[in-house]
Amino acid sequence: MGDIFFFVEVLVAGLLSGVMYALVALGFVLIYKASSVFNFAQGAMVFLAVLSFVGFMELGLPFWAALPVTIGMMVLVGMATERFVLRPLVSQTEETLLMATIGLAFVIEGLAQFLWGVDVRNLDLGIHDEPIGWVMDTTGMLISQLDIMAGVVAGIMVTALALLFSRTKVGRGLRAVADDHTAALSIGIPLKHIWMLVWATAGVVALVAGMLWGARSGVQFALVWVALKALPVLIIGGFTSVPGVIVAGLLVGASEKVVEVYFGPYFGGGVEVWFPYILAVLFLLIRPEGLFGEKIIRRV
């Protein structure tokens, strides 16, 4: 009996940390859908967002004031990105845009540290990374409150975004913009507004991901590298699929924890650090478009 509870505990912990990976990956998907570009600056945006949030709270703003202020700031960052980085590059190749996002990453990282300094800070969301009491009492399983919270938040965000993309005018506009700028403009899709909206949304998603990660592991520069964990999630889920990212996030989270706990000892531990990448490589070999990605068709 205890074994099953232990397995469930590992699985749930894995699934819920997978949700946190998925939240970071979601930011990538948003930008990729709108411009077919892997946004290297996403990690930096996570960092800037949560660092600013903590910064505003240190300046004396209460939680509920700091949140909208930070959201407003991320929207401004999104608008500035559209105006100064993307607009001059309309109709350029995807490689050009990719390079631009690498540059943007450095600018945003620098900006964040310039504004708020380089100290590691704590973020207290009022929800602690501690096991839920009654679950522990009745079953002996240790399930973190923060993880449950992350799961709920991610669920809401994903449902909203999936709906936005699949059914609305903006969603159709996004896909069109990603495919062909010139053609999208010619049928009246306002590229500027779509990009602005997408980058602002990606900024808000970055803030949410940053807050949850920051609450767990401290608000520090290392958050930039959380983005790396999103990479296998993106490859497995497919770069263009919102639901794919969630499924892949869960898959990565659950499998890395289960593998770590049950097979880790045979490899001397530390398996969860590299296992997701092995999984991603397998996917690249078998199903390169990912679980839910758009099938890649090339005429020869």
Binding site: A176, D180, A183
Partner: protein
């Protein structure tokens, strides 16, 4: 300035929409790229419901002219008047809002999407329901979805592409891709349709099909058509009036018959003995 209209007898007698007043007027347009004079002081107008062709040898400035109308290029001099209103600062989304749709010389479709989705995308400006209305399936969202779908199905039927409705456009042969692009432009229910070499690179059957569709669009929806074409024969057969450009200057304007007998045009196309 402009040659009086004399549509061919055959076309005028059969038309559902009689040719009307000028819908689009271009006055003294000049466009330069650095030192290159792409268009020099060109004026012409387009009448409502007519099929107007812009022809000329390579590099005559035909595509540039279309791009000026559509707002891709902003001319250094000259004015554009659309439906009696002078438009300053034309740009592609504005053109789309005004009711000017276009196709491209090198097909610009949304390659990852199906034929249906591509044409659906053309309905962008005809969709108004916001995120929440869609999320909760409020009446406006549902009504619009049905209307858009009906309009798109009508176009699909009209262009005889029912059998490829769900096919990703990147898998289609060239001629069909051109037809889908026309469908996407039509989906916006445009007043004026700009076609940039709609028949370039097509074989004879595909060209005949495309000619038929252009004439049908004009006849069925009353859409004003401005088209650029290389193939003189095609142009003369389907156009009401023709503008001829050469080295960015207008060298002829009138009915196909008038243009055909214009000495400047003959010289530009066949060369002059020196």
């Amino acid at each position: 300035m402009n040659v009086p209209v004399q549509p061919s007898i055959l076309q005028s007698s059969e038309r559902a929409f009689a040719i009307g007043a000028p819908i689009l007027e271009l006055d003294s347009i000049s466009l330069r790229f650095g030192g290159v004079h792409a268009i020099t002081n060109v004026s012409f107008n387009v009448l409502e419901h007519e099929i107007r062709a812009i022809i000329g040898p390579n590099g005559a400035g035909k595509s540039s002219m279309l791009n000026v109308i559509n707002g891709v290029y902003v001319p250094q001099e000259g004015t554009i008047t659309f439906r009696g209103e002078r438009i300053s600062g034309m740009n592609p989304p504005l053109a789309a809002r005004l009711g000017i749709a276009r196709t491209f010389q090198n097909i610009a479709l949304f390659k990852g999407m199906s034929v249906l989705d591509n044409i659906m995308a053309g309905r962008y400006l005809r969709t108004h329901a916001n995120f929440l209305e869609v999320a909760f399936q409020l009446p406006r969202a549902r009504r619009e979805e049905t209307q858009n779908r009906e309009a798109v199905e009508e176009i699909i039927e009209f262009l005889e592409i029912e059998h490829i409705r769900k096919t990703p456009v990147s898998r289609l042969p060239y001629g069909l891709q051109k037809r889908v692009e026309l469908g996407r432009a039509l989906a916006a229910e445009p007043k004026v349709l700009l076609l940039d070499e709609p028949m370039a690179g097509m074989n004879i059957e595909e060209k005949q099909d495309m000619c038929r569709f252009i004439l049908d669009v004009n006849d069925h929806y009353g859409t004003t058509v401005v088209l650029i074409e290389h193939d003189m024969g095609v142009v003369m057969d389907i156009s009401d009036r023709v503008v001829v450009l050469d080295y960015g200057k207008k060298i002829g304007d009138g009915t196909p018959e008038e243009v055909r007998s214009n000495q400047n045009v003959i010289d530009a196309y066949l060369g002059v003995a020196h």
